[in-house]
């Protein structure tokens, strides 16, 4: 990673004349590994076009495009920068973004998935072979042949179970050690008891051996585990990619020389240059430059704030107009951005109270099964005084009741539901997020960046004189300030042409000025054009001695915001708007969207406290927010959603991430979550019905390995099919 940041060694022509030194340097430096996100590639031709172009670059060692992940990984000489590679791919006509290779820790999660897949493969192989041998036993193999088949089954099943069952054994052990019961305890007990009694039976050349049941059970349950893991791995890798898109880098000034370094390398006292459009990497104090700051991600305020020398800035604020040099006062974990993490940690402790449906079922189920099997053991032992028969029946009871269907009930449904929501642009990050989403009855929205896009829109364009607009257009098109860009957009859409204005200069932090007919025109802050400031977001145009004209702005609504709110209200949910912005702005938006309850000028702690009060009153709160000021509330809520444009901290704190720009999927997601939970409950009921039918047989000692195998496969298949019915 660090290697990509180094400046090219051949910055001066003279250095290039020292090839020996360069090869030495190349040997000392590690190779650059560059990852690019390529969201628009879609075909085989794209792959070969990009790969051949990258390979043609003299310093690229190898390049490989992954179409499934829509990513390119490049192995290049150390002096190659990611920016260079990005420009190369963009030149081919594909959208490309740099990914922070350090954040993409795909290998660790991949290893867990691969391990599960291996265990699943071994269990599958073993269960097929053991089943084949069992079929011949069921169809009438006798005496020596049956014993031989049982011994071969044992030889296959024992090592296979020892290898494949490890995840269950490990979970069961950790649960037992803490004095708890989970689903894995009855699973482990059933597998172990089945193997032990079968071995004993086989050694006495008995009739019934449950090796097939034990290994098939392991196989089905592992399949459920693997599905579960895959769903989460997909979500995790997509979430990681969002994080990796924000490459944490800063420009440090050292003795007047600019160098690009990783944020982790910054120290207190460093001078850092932040260009317009850049985000503050650390907390600090402005040393030189004037500009305006967008604090909306931190506080929810939409109005840009003036920034001048000596003013304190915090990490996460966006610099708007002029370059700023800041001196770092707090870096890394000390920054206000990170201090917010403490609030999140406190809020999160409340969430761990939620017990998933599967755990609830396990809590009812696990003791019941153990008691039932224990009772049948005692009963049969007292009745026959034969340890072998009693143990055999106890094992049969455990196998028949074993939560094969229960193990598949939840993962099959969540896989189906998450896949469906992923296609609609929602990323389910947390395993129980769907169940929690189904319970939601109150929805709290943040305003800036969530219901609105955070980009302003001119509101009084129609009532302004035409020449004022044309004059403003001339000044605004020269600026990158969001308000200026809003004027430019509005004026262009109205088909206006800019007036001829000369000497246009931008005064960072204040506005833009120019000359027309010997008179100065200014477009900018109220104080700069000596206007009386208004309550709403506004900028002012002053020409000569004439009174200033105000241009007012409102935040543009995010697409789908209206639909999302109306759908949620129609579903009978209570919708609340909570924002850190000023009262008039929040009130206007609440009225526009028809939200009855709203709260303005809320501090981050206020938001979290309000969510906590609602929760205490028994409401299940869904929090939708994007800013740093929402993170604590996101973590405190029963379930939370953040858009992809949110700050990394907010995305981490939330359970669901919206990938697109549209808010509409939220309403539908609540419905999908409800029907998914309904399917999960149905699956539990199906599994229970199977048990009610099969358990009396097992307790009565009428259960053969054939019945056990049939019951197990049938219930697993019904449960999976039921999950696929999800719409």
């Amino acid at each position: 990673m660090t290697a990509t940041l180094r400046p090219t060694p051949s910055a001066c022509p003279a250095c290039a004349a020292a090839p020996a030194a360069e090869t030495l340097a190349a040997r000392a430096l590690p190779d650059a590994r560059i990852a690019l996100s390529l969201p628009t590639i879609h075909c085989g031709a794209c792959i070969s076009k990009i790969e051949s172009a990258l390979d043609a670059h003299p310093q690229v060692r190898s390049a490989r495009v992954n179409l499934t992940l829509k990513r390119a990984s490049i192995d290049a000489a150390p002096e190659v920068t990611a920016e260079e590679m990005r420009a190369l791919v963009e030149g081919l006509g594909y959208e490309a973004h740099e990914l922070d290779a350090g954040t993409l820790s795909a290998t660790a999660t991949d290893r867990a998935g691969r391990e599960l897949l291996m265990r699943l493969a071994v269990a599958g192989f073993a269960s097929m072979n053991v089943m084949l041998l069992s079929v011949s036993v069921w169809s009438g193999a006798e005496a020596a042949t049956r014993d031989l088949f049982h011994w071969i089954s044992a030889a296959i099943a024992l090592p296979a179970i020892a290898f494949s069952g490890v995840p269950f054994f490990r979970n069961a052990w950790s649960a037992l050690r803490h004095g708890r019961l989970n689903m894995d305890v009855p699973i482990t007990l059933a597998i172990l008891l089945a193997v032990v009694t079968s071995l004993w039976e086989t050694s006495l050349s008995g009739e019934h051996a449950y090796f097939d049941a034990a290994i098939a059970l392991t196989f089905f349950l592992l399949a459920g585990r693997y599905l579960d893991h895959r769903t989460r791995a997909i979500a995790r890798s997509a979430a990681e990619e969002l994080t990796a898109l924000e490459v944490p880098r800063a420009t440090r000034l050292r003795d007047g020389v600019e160098e690009v370094v990783g944020i982790a390398d910054l120290a207190v006292g460093d001078l850092i240059l932040v260009r317009p459009g850049g985000r503050m990497p650390v907390d600090g104090e402005i040393v030189s430059g004037t500009s305006e700051l967008d604090r909306s991600l931190l506080t929810g305020e939409t109005l840009p704030v003036f920034a001048g020398e000596g003013q304190a800035v915090s990490a996460g604020e966006v610099n708007l107009t002029g370059p700023l040099t800041i001196r770092a006062t707090a870096v890394g974990a000390e920054t206000s951005l990170h201090r917010m993490a403490d609030l999140v940690a406190i809020a999160e402790s409340g969430r761990s109270r939620y017990t998933s449906l599967a755990d609830k079922a396990a809590k009812l189920y696990a003791p019941g099964v153990h008691i039932l099997s224990g009772l049948s053991f005692v009963g049969w032992y007292l009745y026959t005084w034969d340890l072998r028969t009693a143990l055999n029946i106890a094992a049969a009871v455990l196998i028949i009741t074993c939560p094969c269907a229960l193990g598949l009930a939840v993962p099959a449904v969540t896989t189906a539901a998450s896949g469906r929501l992923f296609r609609r642009g929602m990323l389910i990050k947390h395993e129980t997020a769907l169940e929690r989403l189904a319970q939601v009855d109150t929805v709290v929205f943040d305003k800036t960046g969530t219901l609105t896009t955070g980009t302003p829109r001119l509101t009084n364009g129609a009532s302004l004189p035409r020449d004022a607009l044309e004059l403003a257009l001339a000044l605004s098109q020269a600026s990158a300030h969001p308000l200026a860009q809003a004027i430019t957009r509005a004026a262009r859409d109205a088909g206006l042409a800019a007036t001829q204005v000369t000497d246009i200069t931008e005064v960072p932090g204040y506005g833009t000025k120019g000359m027309i007919d010997g008179q100065e025109v200014r477009l900018g802050r109220a104080s700069w054009v000596s206007a009386t400031p208004r309550a709403e977001t506004a900028t002012y145009l002053k020409m000569g001695k004439a009174p200033p004209v105000a241009f007012t702005f409102a935040d543009a609504l995010r697409p789908g915001a209206e639909e999302a709110v109306t759908t949620l209200v129609k579903q009978g949910k209570r919708v609340i708007l909570m924002s850190g912005d000023t009262t008039p702005a929040v009130k206007a938006l609440a009225e526009r969207l028809g939200i009855a309850e709203w709260l303005a000028e809320a501090l981050p702690a206020d938001k979290a406290a309000r969510v906590a009060t609602l929760t205490d009153k028994g409401a299940h709160v869904l929090m939708v927010g994007d800013g740093l000021n929402d993170t604590a509330a996101l973590a405190a809520a029963h379930v939370s959603i953040s858009p992809a444009s949110a700050l990394d901290a907010a995305r981490v704190a939330s359970d669901i991430v919206l990938l697109g720009n549209d808010l509409t999927p939220i309403g539908a997601a609540c419905e999908t979550a409800k029907s998914a939970t309904r399917r999960i409950r149905e699956n539990f009921r199906i599994a229970t019905v199977y048990n009610i039918v099969a358990v009396p047989l097992a307790v009565a000692g009428l259960c053969s390995p054939l019945i056990a195998a049939l019951a197990m496969s049938l219930s697993s298949i019904t449960v999976s099919l039921n999950a696929l019915r999800l719409r």
Partner: protein, 52 residues
């Protein structure tokens, strides 16, 4: 029934070959990019000589 002495080992070995082949495909990252690999096989970029 002596045929079993041949048939059971043969079936186990054949199954085992399948298992080993699967383990090999997992180990050599052949499931990392299923979509891309499906398209790559149709491209004629490296038909004449293998990719260096």
């Amino acid at each position: 029934m002596n045929i079993l002495a041949y048939l059971i080992p043969i079936s186990l070995i054949l199954g085992g070959v399948g298992l080993v082949a699967f383990v090999y495909t997992v180990r050599s990252n052949q499931y990392d990019d299923p979509e891309g690999d499906a398209r790559r096989i149709l491209s004629n970029d490296w038909d004449d000589r293998p990719k260096p």
